[in-house]
Amino acid sequence: MEYQPPQFFKRGPAPLARLTFFGLLSVLLMVLDARFQYAEPLRHGLTLAIYPLQQVATAPVTAFNRVSDFFSSQTSLRRENASLRSQQLKNAQSLLVLQSLTQENQQLRKLLEARTTLSSPSVFAEIVYAGRDPFSRKVIIDRGSQNGIEPGQPVVDGSGVLGQVTRVLPLLAEVTLITDKNQSIPVQVLRNGLRGIAYGSGDGTTLELRFMPANAEIQNGDVVVTSGLDGVYPRGLPVANVLKVERDATAAFAKIRLTPTAGTNKHRQVLVIQHSEELPSRAEAEQKLKQAAPGKAVKQDKPKTTPRRGQ
């Protein structure tokens, strides 16, 4: 039998060997995640594993909020009550106008035989924590597939569109904010109906309205709302205000910066809208157009692409 020295100081493989092994494994996982989205099961498992820990971590914060709510002074409560009451009066007035307008709108739509826009059901959710990754703008909310959340659903807060659900776990869901660099949203200028697509700029506070002609009729302070053309976002939700328009004679497009109306870095309570609009696929729509106008043959043969839901 071969002699083996006793292993007094057994230390396993050298650290450099370990670093090489784990470094290569990380690179492999990154490629799998970024290019092929194969790492999702691993992500789900790990997220479920730390779910209890994260609940424990946020428990003191929640408890503190509750306690400070309990001890909030009477004067501040009365002040808040008064301001809420005045706001309620204003809202009641506009609500009355809204009701009459809704009825009028419905009748007009009936007259036009247009589809009635349905009010979508929504799920209330709270932001559990913000993603720590400085390269993307994501928040994690406390409702998941158990509550009927699906990828692609829009998320709003009290003042506008916040983002879109991009990943769903059983008890949590990940929302990519509209300020994320990879997020885009079809919009419309409220004043004149000009359509465009707003992209997140990645700096966390602004959006960009790209590919608008240099002479596009947009002013500072214009309100930009969702156009609803994609079938993902319902029409008419406020998205952003125009912050700055730069028109450069040498560039083909104007440079337009927007600030989101939703508090992308502020609020904790959000609403997930379970909006689903059955849009006909593009191929079908073109077929119908061809049938409707046989004289004018549609020449271009577009590739059969269905509109992508989500980002």
Partner: protein
């Protein structure tokens, strides 16, 4: 009489449960809902480095990598991004662990700052290759804050190992 003091002070063995508990606490700290994340130091990286330096035979590259993977999953980051950075931190801490403990804690903090900075640049490079944007110089402030926290983390995590001063004057040693 202050006999058992200073860098040459004899420490009690570290408790494995305490190591695990401190790492889980740091992970929970990183998962808290912060208003502005760019100023919040990465406490998990700091705690991992502390144990890699003080207990290199227990905590090493592998465990650091696993915690990095957990951070990736929790933050919705690219899977492997934090894992790579933490594995590098574990390795760097192992390289300097014999030398760095002979310095004072503030000098140690400078070493720690250098390692944290390199790991952050590593993460930045990975994300820029994967098609991200530069997040701004403010992100480096969190690294400076983390390095400043090092002496306090050292005091906190070494506290259970520091035996109470022995006041038995008759004992020979």
């Amino acid at each position: 009489m202050r006999r058992n003091q200073g860098p040459q002070r004899i420490l009690r063995p570290a408790n494995a449960f305490f190591i695990a508990f401190s790492l889980l606490c740091a992970l929970a700290f990183n998962l808290l809902p912060w208003p502005d994340l760019r100023l919040v130091p990465d406490l998990l990286a700091l705690t991992l480095m502390f144990w890699c330096i003080h207990q290199p035979r227990r905590i090493g590259v592998g465990i650091a990598w696993l915690f990095g993977l957990t951070m990736d999953a929790a933050n919705g980051a690219l899977i492997g991004q934090y894992a790579l950075a933490y594995a590098f931190l574990g390795f760097g801490a192992h390289v300097i662990h014999r030398r760095v403990l002979s310095f004072s804690v503030w000098q140690q903090a400078v070493h720690i700052f250098a390692l944290l900075l390199v790991s952050q640049l590593l993460m930045l490079a990975v994300r820029l290759i994967a098609g991200g944007t530069f997040p701004g110089w403010l992100t480096f402030v969190s690294t400076v804050i983390a390095a400043i926290l090092w002496p306090f983390i050292t005091d906190l995590l070494l506290a259970p190992q520091r035996a109470p001063d022995d006041i038995d004057e008759t004992r020979p040693i």
